[in-house]
């Protein structure tokens, strides 16, 4: 068993509901390994430290626990996954300057961002993988596993936006 740390953000179907009303049952249904944030109406955020046999086991069981209490809660983001350079630096205990230097000095091998803007956004798993493979950095296995699993959840969550009529064509174009 390993301990996995991750944050799940949910949207409640009825935004007028104060998520406060779910707290006691979340405690009773096994979410006592999470810190629960209630700061935004219609939202609930939970940072878990969950022991499990895999990151997928940890994250999927956490979602099941939440859904038992709030069946219509919709996962809006699993973190850490989508990150800027500052987030990566903070997660790894690097300075941001150091992180930037690694990126700029990579000779073009640094993973391409998902969005190149201010801030630029990457999938954390891609950056961690690059640091591990290319630079032989010691990356915490649990963090790598969580970031990979979160990426899967966040991508699948978007699949409903896909236009089936264009899918094959687009796949060819971006291959």
């Amino acid at each position: 068993m390993k301990e996995y740390e991750f944050t799940l953000k949910f949207m409640l179907q009825d935004a007028s509901i104060d998520p406060e009303i779910f707290i006691e049952r979340l405690g009773a249904e096994g979410c006592d390994d999470a810190l629960v944030g209630l700061g935004q109406n219609g939202r609930i955020a939970m940072t878990f430290n969950r022991e499990a046999s895999s990151a997928y086991q940890a994250i999927s069981s956490a979602i099941c626990d939440v859904k038992r209490v709030i069946p219509d809660a919709r996962l809006i983001e699993a973190t850490p996954d989508l990150v800027g350079l500052t987030d990566v630096a903070e997660l790894l205990g690097f300075s941001r300057q150091n992180m930037r230097k690694l990126m700029l000095g990579s000779g073009g091998t640094f993973p391409a961002p998902l969005h190149d803007g201010k801030p630029a956004i990457w999938h954390l798993a891609k950056v961690l993988g690059w640091l591990k493979e290319r630079n032989k950095y010691q990356i915490d296995d649990a963090l790598l596993e969580v970031s990979n699993t979160n990426m899967q959840f966040n991508i699948v969550k978007e699949i409903k936006e896909i236009d089936p009529g264009l899918q094959d064509d687009i796949r060819t174009l971006i291959a």
Binding site: K9, I23, L26, G27, D32, Q40, R43, A45, L85, P119
Partner: protein, 85 residues
């Protein structure tokens, strides 16, 4: 200080840390021990969902719970770096 102490020393220490940074603690609940409120709980708030955070009476692991509470406090307006990516 008039509020009830949390029975887990790690968590109590983290709550005192939060209070020292201006967070307000409200006690009440059964599984839930209480809640803490960010001092910037308005448009300037930067902790997002965690500007109101629920605290368990008997967290599965008190040390983890305490660590998470401290992290929320450190990420709040006071502790957050303004650096741009």
């Amino acid at each position: 200080m008039s509020r009830k102490k949390h029975s887990k020393q790690d968590v109590e220490n983290a709550l005192q840390y939060a209070e020292a940074k201006g967070w307000r603690i409200e006690v009440g609940g059964s599984h839930a021990w209480g809640k803490m409120y960010c001092p910037y709980n308005d448009k300037d708030c930067r902790c997002g969902e965690f500007c109101i955070t629920s605290i368990w009476s008997t967290p599965r692991n008190a040390a983890n719970h305490a660590k998470q509470i401290r992290r929320v406090v450190d990420h709040c307006a006071g502790g957050y770096s303004e650096s741009e990516d």
